[in-house]
Symmetry: C2
Subunit: 329 residues, 2 copies
């Protein structure tokens, strides 16, 4: 069993580093923090480092201040570096990571198995679930702090139990984590009830520009550089806004145009159903998942919009013809 080999390395080594992908999310933070605390319970040294800072919403979680940010300095010695939720060795964004013995723990089907040890469980709703399993295999008692971080992993990676990776097992584990002292209300309050005014104002400005094209079944929102004037908001505050147009009944594609500089727009695309918006993004040199992709298009707003919608229309027409053929008519 791969977990047996990982546990052996954890017990035999002394110094470990834990990292996750760039722009770390809840599963990154929760799983690396939980693993660091588990290693410390074994009497080991554990350093947590991510290339990018954690989202400010996480700043109230216990022990979070220990997380280091930025490139891995030269000459640091570790018996292993754990990469959490990274599909490829480039994902952590740390130049020197290839110099180390890597333990790759992930739940994505397209993991490239880049580690010295690779543990990929595509059935796990979060890497946090895998760390929970590992701790159980080690017969380790989990502290309230570890349980809290594992709960953060699972709750965020299931979209607070909204996504299709939410199963009976997800709830079973959360029941156990709550018994161990994880406080669901505290975690939700940490993650969601500490917005800044600028985030809310930005959300308002963006959503008030909503336009629907019922023929193409698209919902479009837009944000311009001037919207940031006089409000305390940063680019990262727009994350998640595209879910609002995506949530509209009857809309198949949500499009978010975000002015990124002079004559340049970052375009976010979200699709429901069988439409592959990664292919649309690829036409402009972008990429992503079939249902969530992005690209950058140069030009004035109307021009950029025209280009994107032309590509989208071609894609929609191709789909209609395909459906026609598939129906056998």
């Amino acid at each position: 069993m791969i977990t047996g080999q990982i546990i052996e390395r954890m017990r035999s080594g002394n110094r470990f580093m834990l990292t996750s992908h760039r722009k770390p999310d809840g599963d990154s933070i929760g799983s690396e923090m939980a693993m660091a605390l588990i290693l410390e319970r074994l009497g080991k040294v554990a350093v947590v480092r991510n290339r990018d800072a954690y989202p400010s919403a996480y700043r109230r979680l216990p022990g979070i201040e220990r997380i280091l940010t930025g490139e891995l300095p030269e000459g640091e010695q570790y018996d292993a570096v754990f990469t959490m939720e990274c599909t490829e060795i480039e994902r952590p964004g740390l130049a020197r990571i290839g110099d180390y013995f890597i333990i790759n723990i992930d739940h994505h089907h397209n993991n490239t198995m880049f580690g010295a040890l690779n543990w990929v469980d595509i059935g796990a709703c979060a890497v946090g679930e895998m760390i929970f399993d590992l701790a159980r295999e080690m017969k380790l008692d989990l502290t309230t702090e570890i349980a809290t971080h594992l709960y953060v992993s699972i709750a965020t990676d299931t979209g607070f139990f909204h996504f299709s990776n939410t199963t009976a097992r997800t709830f079973e584990i959360c029941a156990e984590l709550a018994r161990l002292g994880a406080n669901p209300n505290f975690v939700a309050d940490c993650l969601y009830d500490h917005n800044r005014p600028g985030q809310i104002q930005l959300l308002g400005k963006t959503l008030s520009r909503l336009e629907i094209d019922w023929e193409m079944r698209t919902a479009t929102i837009a944000l311009f550089q001037s919207d940031f004037d006089g409000i305390d908001a940063v680019d990262g505050d727009t994350e998640g806004i595209i879910n609002y147009p995506r949530s509209i009944d009857g809309v198949d594609v949500a499009v978010f145009f975000k002015e990124a500089g002079t004559r340049s727009f970052r375009v976010g695309l979200r699709a429901r159903k069988d439409l592959n918006v990664a292919e649309v993004a690829a036409e402009f040199g972008g990429g992503g998942h079939p249902q969530a992709s992005g690209c950058t298009i140069e030009g004035e707003y109307e021009e950029v919009r025209g280009k994107l919608f032309a590509a989208l229309r071609r894609k929609l027409q191709a789909r209609s013809s395909a459906a026609w053929t598939a129906d056998g008519r």
Copy 2:
């Protein structure tokens, strides 16, 4: 045990009605639907009736079309009427309800015990949890449809596991419901991914007016009748918007001014911490809970705003003095 008496009545009777409070919510719909299906499994007739229509977001839930809306017609015969999640006999809003043998099932501490049989469990996160317990006591196998409705009850009444009533037991029950076939992703998709464009536009317009007063620690939003011009939205679509200003870090009170007619504003108040906004609302003839209250104030916007903030300032000053005294200085 009161549940024993309820079960006896369920087994001995033949025709039952199920209802809940006005403006039914997820726990109303979920618990009355689950109970109706349980009664049918016992071979009984079960009629579900609420005074008000269920929220349109619930229209995709299985069997929901059976729910009748409006006043209880004269002359209907029932062996018992179940009231779900109603603190008082007036809550269902049905004039003739007092004519029946009422089985009152609720989880609110201030329930007035108005039924012939009263089962109030203030430890339950939702009435859905109580119906789950009842089915278990009856040793009844739950169908996927019943499990789905109980999941709707529990998920919505815990704010999708955000509120402080979310416990290990909440997750244990949800694990069992998922094993029985309840699909968390389907339920979340039903309830949250079917907005209308007007709801999103209204949200945008309201939030883009956000104002913060850091001295008073208030966040204010406003919506005017003219905002509804040209968009497909109704008054009920503003529900929940006040949670956005309430979510801002450092804000103690969120205020939502909603123009209700000529020179008339409906004011929603939400407080964090120890401030009792029900007392502020009471000054204008309104009421509610200490942390969530509302009132109507007549006048032009600036005038209404001035009145409300003057009352709020008095309240905040009274609190400061009280804190001073409580500190023993």
